[in-house]
């Protein structure tokens, strides 16, 4: 802000360049705030384990965790574990997501179909996730299929609920505008319904994905020979806490990255929601 004002005063020809510079700098500064907490935690963690305040066979120092991850990376093993877990989450996410989207749309639009499906779905929602495991193993075997099925169950509910509620909460007044402007069914769906429910749908997708990550752990802890969850079990069996913590951190990172991916992909569709903030920002920068 100050720099910009000074520029105005001095009438430098590079004003726009400097504005851009300050903008990027401010943005970097804002974004780097999020690193403060993890770095602090790592420092405290390092301090605790190096000084043996917590026994290092329970809490190995960060360096040892990094070391463990590096060893796995050099083997090329880590990458394939991550890929397998990612693949499971992805398949479950797609399967559950499609089912949830279809059911969410039809129950949102038609009260009759809502009465038909919703009570049953709500009842199934109350079933704890782990309760599905024995059944799925029986039905789909102990390999990939049962895991994907379990994950898709987790993914299903948030997407379904958000989409159904989103459709039901579309403003009747807005529909009336479509009506008075003589929009046909297809046009109403294209210009009014779909853009209107996209925010709720994306919220559903993001929380669905978060649950997908939760369920993939459940699935892999149950019995798997590869994947990040398997690494954890392996670490537990062979008494390597560094491996457990390493896998845990990797879960956090990969999970966050996939969430960020949805966020960035959805950004163009949500531009209109953040428009007010952008305007204020521009005002501040002007």
């Amino acid at each position: 802000m100050n720099i910009i004002l000074n520029n105005k005063h001095l009438k430098l020809p590079f004003k726009s360049f400097n504005v851009l510079h300050t903008k990027i700098f401010t943005k970097l500064l804002q974004n780097s705030v999020c690193a403060i907490l993890p770095i602090t935690i790592i420092f405290i963690w390092h301090f605790l384990s190096v000084n043996e305040i917590v026994r290092s066979n329970l809490l190995p120092p960060p360096s040892e965790v990094v070391n463990e991850i590096l060893i796995l990376t050099n083997d090329g093993e880590l990458f394939s574990h991550i890929l397998i877990t990612l693949n499971r989450v992805f398949n479950g996410f797609i399967l559950g997501g499609i089912l949830a989207s279809v059911l969410g749309v039809i129950t949102g639009i038609s009260p009759t179909l809502r009465n038909l499906f919703d009570p049953t779905i709500q009842a199934l929602k109350a079933v704890p996730s782990l309760a599905w495991v024995p059944l799925f193993i029986l039905w789909f075997g102990i390999f990939e299929n049962s895991k994907v099925a379990l994950i898709s169950v987790g993914v299903f509910f948030p997407i379904y609920l958000n989409l159904m509620m989103g459709i039901r909460q579309i403003d009747k007044k807005i529909i009336e505008v479509a009506h008075i402007n003589n929009l046909n069914h297809f046009q109403t769906i294209r210009w009014v319904l779909i853009p209107g429910i996209i925010p709720e749908w994306i919220t559903g997708l993001r929380s669905g994905l978060a649950l997908g990550w939760m369920f993939v752990i459940a699935a892999e802890l149950m019995g798997a020979s590869e994947g990040l969850g398997y690494l954890m079990i392996d670490g537990q069996m062979t008494g390597r806490p560094a491996l457990i913590i390493g896998a845990l951190i990797l879960f956090a990172i990969v999970g966050k990255l996939t969430d960020q991916l949805i966020y960035f992909l959805s950004k163009p569709f949500l531009k209109w929601k953040s428009s007010l903030n952008n305007m204020q920002e521009e005002e501040n920068n002007a």
Binding site: V177, L183, Q187, P195, W272
Partner: protein, 252 residues
């Protein structure tokens, strides 16, 4: 010509029915500008929605140039109390909604022309969130006008605006009316607004005991500038609140 013939509207529930409109007969000439005034609940908005084709009359009908209206058409544009812009479409696309079936070039031409007419230029890329109340209402008017309707219906279009913006837009609507040569029917509860804009004021009395007591039509002669507005305001006020019906009878 907009012809409203014996229009009744009854809202029915299982064990409850309410007469909102009873036997409304009204003839609105082409290029007339007219206001429907009345207390809230008198059915003025309902009447407007029936004219728009958004609701069906329980009996009777409305016809525009001898064609009975039973669904919305591009001959009739409507502006609501709240602008009702789609928040996910920018100003340009919001206006485009009325003329989706035109080709791109025609759309661009019509939208830019209409934006000029309502006094807004270069804002096609803004999101509704970024507009002030008055601007949003202007966009809504543009959306109604872009299809070049014969009749423009305004349902309390200025009641959510501050008084400066309001009088500004009132002048603008009057100006649009005289330049576009269209029929305007406005619903309002504000008597000042009605007499400021329109040449004729129709007063709907609230339905008492499920009966409409009387419909009054006050003609404001043209040119209006030579007539004291205050007198009309007082007169209409008296009719609505039944204060002094003698004076009304004398003047009509």
């Amino acid at each position: 010509m907009l012809n409203i013939k014996n229009v009744c509207k009854i809202y029915k529930n299982k064990d409850y029915s309410q007469n909102v409109l009873k036997d409304i007969n009204l003839c609105i000439e082409d290029q007339e500008i007219i206001s429907l005034v009345g207390q809230s609940g008198c059915g003025k908005s309902t009447l407007l929605r029936i004219i728009a084709g958004l609701e069906k009359a329980s009996s009777g009908y409305v016809e525009l140039n001898k064609n009975i209206i039973n669904k919305p058409s591009s001959n009739i544009g409507m502006v609501f109390q709240d602008a009702r812009l789609m928040p996910w479409l920018n100003v340009y696309d919001n206006i485009k909604l009325s003329i989706l079936n035109d080709d791109k070039e025609t759309q661009r031409y019509k939208i830019n022309e209409t934006l000029k007419k309502v006094g807004l230029e270069d804002i096609g890329n803004l999101w509704p969130k970024q507009l002030s109340g008055g601007m949003a209402q202007r966009v809504a008017i543009a959306r109604a006008l872009v299809q070049q309707p014969q009749v423009l219906l305004l349902d309390e279009p200025f009641s959510a605006l501050d008084s400066f913006t309001k009088s500004n837009l009132q002048d603008h609507v009057r100006h649009l009316w005289s330049s576009l040569k269209i029929t305007i029917v406005m619903v309002t509860h504000d008597i000042n607004e009605a007499t400021a804009i329109s040449d004729r004021v129709l007063i709907l009395n609230k339905v008492l005991d499920n009966k409409i007591t009387k419909n009054h039509i006050v003609k404001i002669n043209k040119p209006r500038s030579t007539f004291p507005k205050n007198e009309y305001n007082e007169l209409i006020n008296n009719i609505i609140f039944n204060k002094n019906s003698n004076q009304f009878n004398a003047l009509i």
